[in-house]
Symmetry: none
Subunit: 155 residues, 2 copies
DNA sequence: CTTCGTCCCGTTGACGCCCATGAGTGCCCA
DNA sequence: TGGGCACTCATGGGCGTCAACGGGACGAAG
């Protein structure tokens, strides 16, 4: 498996460390990503986490912009200045920093949520709430006329 | 890693010195840049800092302008005359000068902000404010119709 | 003689690296 | 089919190292 799937909640210990789910670490290893990079997601209180390929993707996008226009600068500010390295220790744990807590509201526990090519870190309750909202939106979409058949499910 | 990433806040001591984050120093060493060059950023109260390759970036921009226009001359004046060398001491610290304080409003602490090929120095609160503005602009961009898919999340 | 800049050293707190524990799970064999 | 064994993984804690920080000593310049 080469994608980040499913979710799990892990506890933060007194030293501020939390285990990255073993399954996620296996995906990283398979991809040859030794380092983790985390970004503060734009419109939700979560962190987007992945290997350095996560960063490459954004930088390619920035390269398309006029390097002296404000948009390019904002993008750089976001992906370079609003990101952080997460170092895995020998036991597959990372250390929570204030940088991460501020944006997410994470305190004692972290929800790791697979998102395919990357994963997210959430405060468990907020994740729960956001998941309900997302489901509700999709459900509404499904019951509207003229929409595609996405999420009709196997009937 | 060969790019300046993430951010950190360090304190200025009584002698006016401040540590450049070890991670940034490692990047400089990797690039073989022995000297630091600082410029007052154009549209924000920050310093752009990097090796001498930083100048290339600005000279490239000047080259885009009409050499007979006032603009080009202003830019040259700005980037060649309004820069300063920063000397690293044995412990990886630099000394804050009035040149740096004036433009940035830095007093007791400095936020070092990775920007990819260079990094910036900010007064921490102003950095925080500017970061929020940039995020808001990107968020607006993202939610506008007809825009590209930047920051939709790496799918 | 004073002041400023540079070099050097000591302290402290955070972080990386190590090992121990314990719960849960799958597997094997009786 | 049930019991037990081995393994994996999350979690806790000890300890050494290093970076950030503070301050003193020395030398050059005013």
């Amino acid at each position: 498996m080469d994608r980040f799937l499913s979710s799990a909640v892990n506890r933060i210990d007194q030293k501020g460390r939390v285990s990255v789910p073993a399954h996620f670490r296996a995906v990283l290893a398979k991809r040859g990503e030794g380092e983790l990079y985390a970004l503060r997601a734009l419109d939700m209180p979560a962190l987007d986490v992945g290997g350095l390929d996560l960063l490459d993707r954004y930088e390619q996008r920035i390269a398309q912009e006029d390097p002296f226009a404000q948009t390019a600068d904002d993008m750089s500010f976001f992906c370079h200045g609003d990101g952080a390295f997460l170092k895995l220790d020998g036991d597959g744990r990372i250390t929570m920093t204030d940088f991460m807590r501020e944006h997410t509201g994470i305190e004692g526990e972290v929800a790791f949520v697979g998102r395919g090519p990357f994963f997210q870190m959430w405060e468990p309750r907020r994740f729960q709430a956001y998941r309900e909202e997302a489901r509700a939106r999709l459900s509404r979409l499904r019951n509207q006329p003229g929409t595609t058949a996405f999420i009709r499910g196997p009937e």
